[in-house]
Amino acid sequence: MRPVGQANVVAEPVLRIEDLSVCVERDGRSNLALSSVSLSISNGEIVGIVGESGCGKTMMALAIMGLMAENCRTVHGSIALQGLEITSLSARSMRSFRGRRMSMIFQEPMVALNPLMRVGRQVEEVLAIHHIGNRSERRRRVRELFAQVGLSGSGFRSRQYPHELSGGMRQRVMIAVALAAEPALLIADEPTTALDATVQAQILDLLLDIRSRLGTSILFVTHDMGVIAEVADRVVVMYAGQVVEVASVQDLFARPGHPYTAGLLGSITAASSVPEGGDLPTIAGRVPSLEEIPLGCAFAPRCAKVQAHCIDNRPQLATLETGHLAACWFPLPSVGDPRTSATSHSEGGK
């Protein structure tokens, strides 16, 4: 179905980001919003990006799509999509990739669709932009897509406008838009955050289903460790524009290496025991703004295990065990016997 069927391409990850740094210009000063970020996604893999608000998750997603705001600029590093470097592409080639080879769904289904355009046409537009099929073929494909994302029946018509649909249905429309041209990579930026719990679970199931049926690789952005546990194969933990830990989802939950990851995990285990309406226990302090990011370990000011060495020296990602990396001078000891991970989505250390 997709052009990448050949055996010799299998080893090539769908997306490989290496040493990516993005600079943000504001009030005449420029700061790094992403510094030396690396990550890769293999065919059919779901990689979760997790981190508190303001850690640069959306920035990373937009950098991949080439949709960053005008004041943001890639200053270093590479982004390769199916083996092709895209940071240096012309605007025109980049447009031909967007929606076709990679696509993105957003956090707010309420506002992400054009309120004045029928939803069927919003899906069909992707096909029209990329010159896929003739009119009647496109119509047929739109019906097929709506069925695929669970939108047929139940009073849904493709002639409806977004305001006539519920939040969950709109997100399904967005997913249909994103899948229309059968991209190899789907970036989902907090696709369920704005939805209530049952709808959230349905959408997550849909994404898992899409991955297993179409083999789409998914970059799943969230700040919710619970969601990560449900969908991700591998997890990239971000803090202050840096990757602080990478691991398979099992390893990460069983043996978090970075104190920040442990803190994020602590807040979900605690959340289940907090009465309704109570405050979630969080990691003390807050994410630094871009200007305030410390020179040493960015997490040092909030870290319970901080030592003098952390203040002035920035730790690099280092292998803790196969396929499990953390950027910490004093990674947490694994509890009990350090088994090797059973899963083998091994990307290996660098």
Partner: protein
């Protein structure tokens, strides 16, 4: 839908009654037109007789009552100056005003929409720095100044266009530019503001994520959305223009409703003044009603359920 239109009609009637009342008392306390109508050497008896003929000697409340009653029937009485029903005079001038208003609108929109869009898309770039002064000049030049300037340059100096009067497209151009440049500024600013806001909306990011080019994003997505608020302004501008452009019509001796207004006020021609004001108010209300209905056509969120 029917209920919506009905309630708007009731509102319109109340508004028109208010306008009638205000204009009646404003006009009737402005002065005595009989002194302007009789010869200089007329006797007190002559004045009294004419006052009686015109019904101006009756108590004010009495006059008001019959004025309202007649006005509801579209009867504003005969003009004091021309021996014709006041409303007929107004209506006979209306086509000229429509012609000028259309000219002004075409001129204003043809420039305002591209200027507004370009200065939003190229915000902070040289394009915007060139276009913004155009808007500013249009907005800060009063019609009596820009009109006379245009006459001096294009009619007196270069003889390209006639300096006054009506007749053909050539005569329409200078007054249209004069009148339209005020709307041009208003509409361009509105278009620019609305486009700037909509370019940052999430649905625009979605469109870009589909791979849409900038022209496609603008035409297929932003234009309709961003044009909604402009529609309101446009309705008001149209109503203003159709109510008669007093200054522009005076400068160019354009025989429209605006010029008629000036003449009627100067000669204290009460029936004509009253008819003109009611006419302008009606146009205003109708234009706004038209805009409301148009909103329903453009924006599916406003369509009343079951209407489609």
């Amino acid at each position: 839908m029917i209920r919506f239109i009905l309630s708007r009609l009731v509102q319109a009637v109340v508004a028109l009654l208010g306008v009638l009342t205000v204009v009646f008392f404003a006009v009737h306390t402005a002065g005595n037109p009989v002194r302007l109508l009789v010869p200089q050497n007329a006797s007190a008896a002559d004045i009294a007789r004419l006052s009686h003929q015109l019904g101006l000697d009756r108590p004010l409340v009495d006059q008001y009552g019959s004025f309202l009653l007649n006005a509801i029937h579209g009867n504003f009485g005969y003009s004091f100056v021309q021996n014709q029903p006041a409303l007929n005079i107004v209506l006979s001038r209306f086509p000229n005003t429509v012609e000028l208003a259309a000219g002004a609108l075409v001129f204003a929109l043809a420039l305002a929409i591209p200027i507004g869009i370009l200065s939003a898309v190229y915000r902070g770039k040289w394009v915007e720095r060139v276009l913004m002064p155009v808007i500013l000049v249009g907005q800060s030049m009063p019609a009596f100044w820009s009109g006379i300037l245009l006459i001096l340059i294009f009619a007196v100096h270069w003889h390209i266009f006639p300096s006054s009067g009506q007749g053909g497209l050539r005569a329409l151009i200078l007054p249209s530019v004069t009148l339209g440049s005020i709307s041009l500024a208003t509409v361009a600013r509105m278009v620019r503001g609305s486009f700037l806001e909509h370019l940052n909306r999430e649905y625009v990011r979605t469109a870009k994520a589909k791979g849409a080019s900038m022209p496609r994003v603008l035409i297929r997505h932003v234009f309709r959305n961003a044009f909604l608020p402009v529609l309101t302004i446009l309705g008001m501008e149209t109503a203003n223009l159709l109510g008669g452009a007093v200054i522009t019509e005076t400068i160019f001796a354009w025989p429209g409703v605006g010029l008629l207004t000036v003449q009627a006020v100067q000669s204290l021609d009460f029936p004509v003044v009253e008819a003109v004001v009611l006419f302008a108010a009606t146009i205003y209300i109708l234009a706004n009603l038209a805009v409301d209905l148009l909103y329903g056509v453009v924006d599916p969120r406003l369509r009343i359920q079951g209407a489609d």
